[in-house]
Protein backbone atom coordinates (compact mmCIF):
# COMPACT_ATOMS: atom_id res chain seq x y z
CA UNK A 1 0.00 0.00 0.00
CA UNK A 2 1.12 3.56 -0.70
CA UNK A 3 -0.38 6.81 0.51
CA UNK A 4 0.05 10.11 -1.33
CA UNK A 5 -1.38 13.23 0.30
CA UNK A 6 -2.82 16.28 -1.43
CA UNK A 7 -3.91 19.38 0.45
CA UNK A 8 -6.75 21.66 -0.59
CA UNK A 9 -8.17 24.44 1.56
CA UNK A 10 -9.28 22.66 4.77
CA UNK A 11 -9.37 19.33 2.96
CA UNK A 12 -6.78 16.58 2.85
CA UNK A 13 -7.06 14.01 0.06
CA UNK A 14 -5.24 10.70 0.48
CA UNK A 15 -4.70 8.76 -2.74
CA UNK A 16 -4.26 5.15 -1.64
CA UNK A 17 -2.92 2.40 -3.86
CA UNK A 18 -2.14 -1.27 -3.42
CA UNK A 19 -3.40 -3.67 -0.76
CA UNK A 20 -4.68 -2.72 2.69
CA UNK A 21 -3.98 -5.68 4.96
CA UNK A 22 -2.38 -6.69 8.26
CA UNK A 23 0.99 -5.35 7.15
CA UNK A 24 -0.16 -2.02 5.77
CA UNK A 25 -3.33 -0.98 7.65
CA UNK A 26 -1.39 0.42 10.67
CA UNK A 27 0.15 2.97 8.30
CA UNK A 28 -3.30 4.05 7.06
CA UNK A 29 -4.63 4.20 10.62
CA UNK A 30 -1.72 6.40 11.71
CA UNK A 31 -2.15 8.77 8.76
CA UNK A 32 -5.89 9.18 9.48
CA UNK A 33 -5.50 9.69 13.24
CA UNK A 34 -2.78 12.29 12.68
CA UNK A 35 -4.97 14.23 10.27
CA UNK A 36 -8.01 14.27 12.58
CA UNK A 37 -6.52 14.33 16.09
CA UNK A 38 -3.33 16.31 15.67
CA UNK A 39 -3.98 18.49 12.64
CA UNK A 40 -7.75 18.75 13.16
CA UNK A 41 -8.33 18.90 9.42
CA UNK A 42 -12.06 19.60 8.84
CA UNK A 43 -12.37 17.10 5.99
CA UNK A 44 -10.33 14.04 5.00
CA UNK A 45 -11.12 12.37 1.69
CA UNK A 46 -9.84 8.86 0.90
CA UNK A 47 -9.42 8.03 -2.78
CA UNK A 48 -9.63 4.22 -2.85
CA UNK A 49 -9.63 4.01 -6.66
CA UNK A 50 -6.28 2.23 -6.84
CA UNK A 51 -6.86 -0.12 -3.89
CA UNK A 52 -7.08 -3.67 -5.14
CA UNK A 53 -7.67 -5.44 -1.86
CA UNK A 54 -8.79 -4.69 1.67
CA UNK A 55 -9.36 -7.06 4.59
CA UNK A 56 -10.89 -6.64 8.04
CA UNK A 57 -7.78 -4.90 9.37
CA UNK A 58 -8.30 -2.28 6.66
CA UNK A 59 -11.96 -1.92 7.60
CA UNK A 60 -10.90 -1.57 11.25
CA UNK A 61 -8.57 1.31 10.30
CA UNK A 62 -11.40 3.04 8.43
CA UNK A 63 -13.68 2.63 11.46
CA UNK A 64 -10.99 4.12 13.71
CA UNK A 65 -10.64 7.01 11.29
CA UNK A 66 -14.40 7.53 11.33
CA UNK A 67 -14.49 7.53 15.13
CA UNK A 68 -11.64 10.03 15.31
CA UNK A 69 -13.39 12.28 12.78
CA UNK A 70 -16.57 12.24 14.88
CA UNK A 71 -14.61 13.04 18.06
CA UNK A 72 -13.26 16.25 16.54
CA UNK A 73 -16.33 17.07 14.44
CA UNK A 74 -14.60 16.58 11.08
CA UNK A 75 -15.89 14.81 7.97
CA UNK A 76 -14.41 11.55 6.69
CA UNK A 77 -15.27 10.71 3.08
CA UNK A 78 -14.52 7.72 0.86
CA UNK A 79 -14.67 7.57 -2.94
CA UNK A 80 -13.52 5.39 -5.82
CA UNK A 81 -14.53 2.07 -4.24
CA UNK A 82 -14.23 -0.78 -6.71
CA UNK A 83 -16.39 -3.87 -6.50
CA UNK A 84 -14.04 -5.83 -4.23
CA UNK A 85 -13.78 -3.02 -1.69
CA UNK A 86 -17.53 -2.45 -1.81
CA UNK A 87 -18.10 -6.18 -1.18
CA UNK A 88 -15.85 -6.12 1.87
CA UNK A 89 -17.63 -3.09 3.33
CA UNK A 90 -20.98 -4.72 2.58
CA UNK A 91 -19.84 -7.90 4.33
CA UNK A 92 -18.98 -5.82 7.39
CA UNK A 93 -22.45 -4.21 7.29
CA UNK A 94 -20.63 -0.90 7.55
CA UNK A 95 -21.34 0.60 4.14
CA UNK A 96 -24.10 2.77 5.52
CA UNK A 97 -22.10 4.35 8.33
CA UNK A 98 -19.52 5.80 5.95
CA UNK A 99 -19.99 8.87 3.79
CA UNK A 100 -19.25 7.45 0.33
CA UNK A 101 -19.27 9.31 -3.01
CA UNK A 102 -18.70 8.26 -6.58
CA UNK A 103 -15.95 10.70 -7.43
CA UNK A 104 -13.55 13.35 -6.16
CA UNK A 105 -15.68 16.29 -7.32
CA UNK A 106 -18.56 15.26 -5.07
CA UNK A 107 -16.16 14.43 -2.22
CA UNK A 108 -14.63 17.92 -2.10
CA UNK A 109 -17.84 19.85 -2.89
CA UNK A 110 -18.62 22.53 -0.26
Amino acid sequence: MQIAARHLDKITIFDISGDIDLATSPQLRKALLREFRELKVPRVVLNLGAVRYMDSSGVASLVEGLKASRDVGSRFILFGLNRTIREVLQLSKLVRIFEIYDNEEQSVAP
Binding site: D21, Y53, D55, S56, V63, E87, L91, S92, I97
Partner: protein, 136 residues
Protein backbone atom coordinates in the same frame (compact mmCIF):
# COMPACT_ATOMS: atom_id res chain seq x y z
CA UNK B 1 4.26 -12.34 1.91
CA UNK B 2 0.52 -12.41 2.72
CA UNK B 3 0.07 -10.64 -0.60
CA UNK B 4 1.92 -13.44 -2.41
CA UNK B 5 -0.30 -16.03 -0.72
CA UNK B 6 -3.41 -14.10 -1.76
CA UNK B 7 -2.40 -13.89 -5.40
CA UNK B 8 -1.38 -17.54 -5.69
CA UNK B 9 -4.59 -18.62 -3.99
CA UNK B 10 -6.76 -16.31 -6.11
CA UNK B 11 -5.30 -17.87 -9.24
CA UNK B 12 -5.78 -21.37 -7.79
CA UNK B 13 -9.45 -20.66 -7.07
CA UNK B 14 -9.97 -19.20 -10.56
CA UNK B 15 -8.28 -22.22 -12.16
CA UNK B 16 -10.54 -24.57 -10.18
CA UNK B 17 -13.53 -22.77 -11.73
CA UNK B 18 -14.73 -20.44 -8.99
CA UNK B 19 -16.40 -17.20 -10.09
CA UNK B 20 -14.65 -13.91 -9.43
CA UNK B 21 -16.66 -13.03 -6.28
CA UNK B 22 -16.08 -16.58 -5.01
CA UNK B 23 -12.34 -16.22 -5.62
CA UNK B 24 -12.38 -12.98 -3.62
CA UNK B 25 -14.28 -14.70 -0.84
CA UNK B 26 -11.76 -17.56 -0.60
CA UNK B 27 -8.83 -15.15 -0.66
CA UNK B 28 -10.42 -12.97 2.03
CA UNK B 29 -11.17 -15.95 4.29
CA UNK B 30 -7.62 -17.30 4.12
CA UNK B 31 -6.11 -13.83 4.57
CA UNK B 32 -8.26 -13.29 7.67
CA UNK B 33 -7.43 -16.73 9.03
CA UNK B 34 -3.68 -16.23 8.57
CA UNK B 35 -3.95 -12.75 10.08
CA UNK B 36 -5.73 -14.22 13.11
CA UNK B 37 -3.10 -16.93 13.53
CA UNK B 38 -0.29 -14.36 13.45
CA UNK B 39 -2.10 -11.91 15.76
CA UNK B 40 -3.86 -14.19 18.23
CA UNK B 41 -2.21 -17.61 18.15
CA UNK B 42 1.35 -16.30 17.72
CA UNK B 43 0.82 -12.93 19.45
CA UNK B 44 2.17 -10.97 16.49
CA UNK B 45 5.22 -13.08 15.70
CA UNK B 46 5.29 -13.55 11.90
CA UNK B 47 8.14 -16.03 11.94
CA UNK B 48 6.33 -18.93 13.61
CA UNK B 49 5.38 -21.94 11.49
CA UNK B 50 2.00 -22.10 9.77
CA UNK B 51 1.14 -25.27 7.87
CA UNK B 52 -1.30 -25.00 5.02
CA UNK B 53 -2.82 -27.49 2.64
CA UNK B 54 -4.99 -26.72 -0.37
CA UNK B 55 -6.87 -29.64 -1.96
CA UNK B 56 -9.69 -30.26 -4.34
CA UNK B 57 -12.09 -32.63 -2.61
CA UNK B 58 -15.39 -34.31 -3.38
CA UNK B 59 -18.30 -33.42 -1.10
CA UNK B 60 -21.92 -34.50 -0.95
CA UNK B 61 -23.98 -31.51 -1.98
CA UNK B 62 -27.60 -30.88 -3.02
CA UNK B 63 -28.36 -34.58 -3.01
CA UNK B 64 -25.54 -35.28 -5.46
CA UNK B 65 -21.78 -35.04 -5.18
CA UNK B 66 -19.78 -31.95 -6.08
CA UNK B 67 -16.24 -30.65 -6.02
CA UNK B 68 -14.91 -28.24 -3.44
CA UNK B 69 -11.72 -26.54 -2.37
CA UNK B 70 -10.56 -27.63 1.10
CA UNK B 71 -8.04 -25.48 2.94
CA UNK B 72 -6.50 -26.60 6.23
CA UNK B 73 -4.37 -24.20 8.28
CA UNK B 74 -2.42 -25.39 11.32
CA UNK B 75 -0.48 -23.50 13.93
CA UNK B 76 1.35 -24.38 17.16
CA UNK B 77 0.25 -21.24 18.96
CA UNK B 78 -1.75 -20.63 22.11
CA UNK B 79 -4.95 -22.62 22.42
CA UNK B 80 -7.84 -20.68 20.96
CA UNK B 81 -10.56 -19.81 23.49
CA UNK B 82 -13.86 -21.01 21.98
CA UNK B 83 -15.76 -18.30 23.87
CA UNK B 84 -13.81 -15.57 22.13
CA UNK B 85 -13.97 -17.29 18.77
CA UNK B 86 -17.64 -16.55 18.25
CA UNK B 87 -17.10 -13.15 16.73
CA UNK B 88 -19.22 -10.21 17.81
CA UNK B 89 -22.45 -8.47 17.02
CA UNK B 90 -21.96 -6.22 14.04
CA UNK B 91 -24.36 -3.62 15.37
CA UNK B 92 -21.85 -1.91 17.62
CA UNK B 93 -19.55 0.07 15.40
CA UNK B 94 -15.99 -0.45 16.55
CA UNK B 95 -12.75 -1.41 14.89
CA UNK B 96 -11.83 -5.10 15.03
CA UNK B 97 -13.85 -8.23 15.58
CA UNK B 98 -14.75 -8.63 11.90
CA UNK B 99 -12.31 -11.34 10.85
CA UNK B 100 -14.26 -14.40 11.98
CA UNK B 101 -17.44 -12.91 10.57
CA UNK B 102 -15.73 -12.47 7.18
CA UNK B 103 -14.44 -16.04 7.30
CA UNK B 104 -17.88 -17.49 8.13
CA UNK B 105 -19.61 -15.40 5.45
CA UNK B 106 -17.04 -16.37 2.82
CA UNK B 107 -16.83 -20.14 3.25
CA UNK B 108 -19.31 -23.02 3.28
CA UNK B 109 -17.60 -24.87 6.14
CA UNK B 110 -15.52 -23.40 8.97
CA UNK B 111 -14.24 -25.83 11.62
CA UNK B 112 -11.81 -25.16 14.44
CA UNK B 113 -10.15 -27.99 16.32
CA UNK B 114 -7.19 -28.54 18.62
CA UNK B 115 -5.13 -31.72 18.50
CA UNK B 116 -1.55 -32.71 19.35
CA UNK B 117 -0.78 -29.21 20.54
CA UNK B 118 -1.91 -27.67 17.26
CA UNK B 119 -4.82 -25.49 16.31
CA UNK B 120 -6.43 -26.59 13.10
CA UNK B 121 -8.78 -24.52 10.97
CA UNK B 122 -10.57 -26.32 8.15
CA UNK B 123 -12.25 -24.22 5.46
CA UNK B 124 -14.32 -25.57 2.58
CA UNK B 125 -15.73 -23.71 -0.41
CA UNK B 126 -18.10 -25.64 -2.65
CA UNK B 127 -17.64 -25.35 -6.41
CA UNK B 128 -21.03 -24.77 -7.98
CA UNK B 129 -19.97 -24.65 -11.62
CA UNK B 130 -18.32 -28.01 -12.24
CA UNK B 131 -14.95 -28.30 -13.91
CA UNK B 132 -12.16 -25.79 -14.27
CA UNK B 133 -12.59 -22.61 -16.21
CA UNK B 134 -10.45 -22.45 -19.35
CA UNK B 135 -8.06 -19.58 -19.97
CA UNK B 136 -8.20 -18.21 -16.47
Amino acid sequence: MLCVVRNALGQLAATLGFSEPECHAVVLAVDEALTNIIRHAYLGDEERPIEASFRRIHVPHDGQGGDALEIVLEDRGVTANPKKMCGRKLEDVRPGGLGLHFIRESMDTVEFSRRNGRNQLRLVKILHVQGPRKGS
